[in-house]
Symmetry: C2
Subunit: 229 residues, 2 copies
DNA sequence: CATTGTGAAGCGTTTCACAGCC
DNA sequence: GGCTGTGAAACGCTTCACAATG
């Protein structure tokens, strides 16, 4: 039962579905249903937004009752493609690569670290988060043997483009880039960039505005609480 | 010269200004002017967007010529509040806190790490990135003596809310949260959240769509390359 | 009768297109 | 001629408000 809702889901909704999923997964097992109000409260968003978001998955709620948690979890997982794991490979075994490899959230949420590679021979062979660091020349082997389609660039900015090129050559089709560099990749490869310093600069902007009370009241501030907004 | 443009800058623009600044800072010193086309190319965005964004700072370009790099850098820095450094304090000396403390990009871009604290006595006293880890009870001292207004939560999810509470109590007014937890903070405190697993899940969604060729063509994919979009 | 699902309004962002200016 | 600055159109996302319904 339940047809495939082959609709195109708005990008903003896609960015929130993982949040809902996470919240639902952490709910007490005794809770069978949630209303859009409750979920909205937990996610820190508006209830209408929750309903609209969930409506893109299909009509899986029950009027007067709410959404059945287990079923909703299943539907979101399916829509996000989380019915199976997506092994990832990390390029760069520096501090950030280290932290990412050890980050339990990746494994827990369906993204096991299939491998870590580095150019530096001194790092090759060391073990991080239970995984032996391999040389970047072995990238293709790792990607192909473990069927990896997502790569993480955790190198310094100067090495980021080469890391991306190697990932693409090895067959990766999605890249999460932590280097403050615009990667150039062939059409058909997706890139998401997370720039830690940019996040601080955005906060800095708001701090500064706070201290220059230009006019009247300090704005109620940002209770949005999400970088992708 | 140059009046204060006390306009309110759209949030989307604020998120891009740090990118422009970064690009401009890395330009060869011999380059005196950039056009919106060139800057757009380097930032991976549309030229009209660059012009609109920069127009919120005031009219600092020259028609037929472009923008003077040095002056534009100055204006963006001023608008972002980067005329002085913003020391930050990191709560959590685990893998992520470790990586962040060592991340050169923070210091380089005006956010020196004023301190790192942890609850674990075993970690207190160790040195990370040249900074001695202090006990979380010393948070207030660090915040006040170093005039810190931005805190970074790099704890595990269970400890994140307490970390935030302590930061707020110590006087911090902006928080960058890396824990997958919705923080509850008093009005007037800004929070930005970066959830590493969510970024992967968004990529996973696109990967999955790619493999289900639902209809016709695989969409040209995401050349947006930014998580805040 | 509580709660969903959704048209329609509202709002912020992007893009177009071109007048204005150096 | 080349490039900025910006109204206006187009777009996408959010929120409202309420009819539909278990």
């Amino acid at each position: 039962m339940a047809e495939r809702p082959r609709r195109r889901i708005p990008e903003a909704t896609v960015a929130r579905l993982p949040e809902y999923l996470h919240i639902l997964s952490e709910l007490d097992d005794s809770i069978e249903h949630v209303s859009s109000d409750q979920l909205a409260e937990l996610a820190g968003v508006n209830a209408a937004k929750v309903r609209k978001d969930l409506s893109y998955l299909g009509s899986y709620g029950t009027r007067g009752v709410g959404y059945e948690v287990a079923y909703l979890v299943y539907q979101i997982r399916r829509e996000l493609g989380l019915t199976h794991d997506w092994p990832v490979v990390i390029v760069g075994a520096g501090n950030l690569g280290h932290a990412l490899a050890n980050y339990a959230g990746f494994m827990d949420r369906g993204f096991p670290v299939a491998g870590i590679v580095d150019v530096d021979p001194a790092k090759v062979g060391t073990v991080i988060g239970g995984i032996r660091v391999r040389h970047v020349d072995d990238l293709q082997t790792v990607v192909q043997s473990r069927k990896v389609s997502i790569g993480v660039v955790a190198t310094n900015p100067a090495a980021a483009q080469e890391a991306a090129d190697r990932l693409v050559a090895a067959g990766v089709t999605s890249i999460l880039n932590f280097a403050p560099t615009l990667l150039s990749v062939p059409r058909g490869v997706s890139v998401r960039k997370v720039d830690l310093a940019v996040e601080l600069q955005i906060l800095g902007y708001h701090e500064q505005r706070r201290s220059v009370p230009s006019l009247s009241i300090v704005p109620g501030t940002d209770s949005s609480q999400s970088a992708s907004a």
